[in-house]
């Protein structure tokens, strides 16, 4: 009997592997093989100069050397970081504030569902269409300029897309609008997960609401804050649709809003496979490190919950 049972057990585990086949087959074909070929491509000189095809010639790590010593990569990395920061800092602060408010039953906020629904909505909007919308709204003769002039705030149209701060600010504003609702909901779920007796005890001890927030909520929220921070950094590295559409791929004014993925896209379109490969490898390493951090932050939280 015992033997039979064992046998049936084995035949069940077989199904575990069978059910994993579609995932791994597709992953290997459409992700792993392309990734390996990206590494391979990064070691070759392979581009078009006019009508002439150069390469592919094996050049070792030369593409990386060119990329890392050129000022371009550094500039575009800096652009990406600056735009990300302008959007992310207000996003985190406002999300924290809103999450604390939504989780505070005593504020008796009306229509919480409505507000949550509204602030999350931009997250689902097509980024390219949203960016096109902002392009028309903030164009020189667009509705925003018209409104600002009518209200007497401006004398003449402000040319948002010819101004470094204007363009970067618009991209950051869109990123902010698209992500602050999402972050608020994540943080709020985190705050609601905190043991309510802690807050009651703090109140008995005479702590103010702000003090309770600083000394109880923030420290206990740290794992989720770390998760939000790193996933947002990964999202920041991926920034593409919004600046690409807003600036029509140019990253103007003067390439100050060109991001890393826009740079990659440019190499992909001009069929400079060596450079595109090397840039992809660098981005893979960056996102890989950040992904590992996300992995550890997730597993740490899981252990905490179950351990």
């Amino acid at each position: 009997m015992a033997k039979r049972r064992k046998k049936s057990c084995v035949s069940y585990t077989k199904w575990g592997y069978i059910f994993l086949i579609p995932f791994f087959l597709v992953y290997i074909v459409f992700s792993l093989i392309p990734l390996v070929s990206v590494f391979y491509n990064s070691l070759f000189e392979n581009y078009r100069a006019g009508l002439k095809q150069i390469g592919p010639n094996f050049v070792g790590f030369n593409n990386f050397k060119i990329l890392l010593t050129s000022s371009e990569l550094l500039t575009f990395a800096k652009n990406t970081i600056v735009i990300w920061l302008i959007g992310f800092i207000p996003q985190l602060l406002i999300s924290l504030l809103l999450a604390a408010w939504f989780a505070n039953m005593r504020l008796r906020i009306r229509a919480v569902g409505f507000f949550k629904g509204v602030i999350y909505m931009p997250n689902l909007i097509m980024a390219s269409a949203f960016s096109m919308l902002f392009f028309t709204l903030f164009s020189d003769n667009g509705p925003v300029n018209d409104l600002l002039i009518k209200m007497g705030i401006l004398d003449q149209p402000f040319r948002f897309l010819s101004d470094v701060g204007g363009t970067r600010g618009l991209i950051a504003l869109m990123n902010f609008l698209m992500w602050f609702g999402n972050t608020t909901i994540l943080l709020m779920a985190g705050i609601l997960g905190i043991d309510a007796t802690l807050f009651e005890a703090a109140e008995v001890d005479g702590a103010t609401q702000f003090k309770a927030f600083r000394l109880i909520t923030l420290p206990l929220l740290r794992p989720i804050l770390v998760y939000v921070l790193i996933t947002s950094m990964i999202g920041g590295i991926q920034m593409f649709d919004v600046p690409q559409i807003l600036t029509n791929g140019s990253g103007n004014p003067n390439s100050t809003s060109k991001t890393l993925i826009m740079y990659l896209n440019q190499h992909l379109y001009s069929k400079n496979y060596g450079m595109a490969g090397a840039l992809s490898v660098i981005l893979f390493i960056l996102t890989g490190i950040l992904s590992l951090l996300v992995y550890f932050s997730i597993t740490k939280r899981r252990e905490k919950r179950w351990g």
């Binding site: 069940y12 585990t13 077989k14 575990g16 059910f19 994993l20 579609p22 995932f23 597709v26 992953y27 459409f30 992700s31 093989i33 392309p34 390996v36 070929s37 990206v38 491509n41 504030l97 809103l98 408010w101 504020l107 906020i109 629904g117 509204v118 602030i119 999350y120 909505m121 689902l124 097509m126 980024a127 390219s128 269409a129 096109m132 919308l133 028309t136 709204l137 509705p143 994540l186 709020m188 779920a189 985190g190 609601l192 990964i234 991926q238 593409f240 690409q244 559409i245 029509n248 990659l264 896209n265 992909l268 595109a276 992809s280 981005l283 893979f284 996102t287 992904s291 996300v294 992995y295």
Partner: protein
């Protein structure tokens, strides 16, 4: 008693801030509705808070434009997004079930592996992906935009979380005793139980595929095969001043509003889905 006063003022401030943020979120879409219903000369004259009467005019005008095959793009976007949503959730549920229900060797290692690749963005392998698709002769085909969604680590992770809380193995044991085949158990028992998580993930995969621009723009070149985001980019790169603005706003509205309309009905469960992913994560 001294404590009561600030509590009364604070809710007012809270509500004012919330209303301001609501206006900030909705205002762009408000102008979008207004301007997509106005004639081009009126839009150029300046801003208006009231809608015009050109909604149908702009709509017909847009559909008649041979350079912007919008209906075609709507159809293409829908085919790709719907297939992606179905395949991605079905096979992610299957993968999650494999990890959740079977005690096979290497299970933990595989789970760790999937978690680790979860956050690596698709853009970094785009070069290899496009070259592979070219070699497979699948350029201008929807298959390379649909099939890769079968391996969706994030969808897998959400559904796995859901199973941990709501899929008791006793049910599976009972079905096995009744002689049900493992594959049948999966289709007739596991899928229905996991339905709430699948529904939420379907919405997410549908919208992310609907909104996707980077990879489709590298794969689809044929005008008949283009999706909405590619048309939007095309609209942006065309000479803007020559364009009928009513048409431009209508094109943006057509890309955005299908998602908003669905969202209005499902926002509750969508927001719950986001929150579940966070707490359980």
């Amino acid at each position: 008693m001294a404590n009561r006063r600030p509590i009364k003022i604070k809710p007012i401030i809270v509500h004012i801030v919330l209303i301001l943020l609501t206006i900030l979120c909705l205002f762009p879409f408000y102008i979008l509705i207004i301007n997509s219903s106005r004639y081009h000369p009126d839009i150029q004259k300046g801003f208006s808070f009231l809608p015009g009467r050109a909604f149908l005019y702009n709509f017909n005008n847009l559909l008649a434009d041979p350079n912007l095959p919008v209906l075609r793009a709507l159809r293409n976007s829908f085919i790709i997004s719907a297939s992606t949503a179905i395949l991605s959730t079905y096979f992610s549920t299957m993968t999650a079930y494999a990890i959740h229900a079977y005690e096979f060797r290497g299970r933990k290692a595989i789970f760790t592996f999937i978690l680790m690749i979860m956050m690596v963005p698709g853009q970094v392998s785009a070069l290899g992906f496009v070259n592979l698709v070219r070699r497979m002769k699948l350029m201008d085909n929807f298959i390379p935009l649909i099939v890769p969604a079968i391996a969706a680590p994030i969808v897998f992770f959400f559904i796995k979380q859901y199973m941990e809380n709501s899929l008791p193995m006793d049910i599976v044991e009972a079905a096995r005793i009744d002689g049900a085949h493992e594959f049948r158990i999966f289709n007739t028992i596991i899928i229905p139980i996991t339905k709430p998580a699948i529904a939420v993930q379907m919405i997410f995969t549908f919208t992310s595929s609907w909104n996707n621009y980077f990879i489709p723009s590298l794969i689809l070149n044929d005008a008949k095969r283009k999706t909405l985001p590619i048309l939007i980019a095309q609209l942006r790169s065309a000479d803007f001043l020559k364009f009928d603005l009513g048409k431009v706003y209508m094109m943006i509205a057509l890309s955005i509003f299908p998602v908003i309309i669905v969202y209005i009905f499902l926002s509750r469960s969508i927001i719950q889905g986001v929150a579940i992913g966070s707490v359980k994560g």
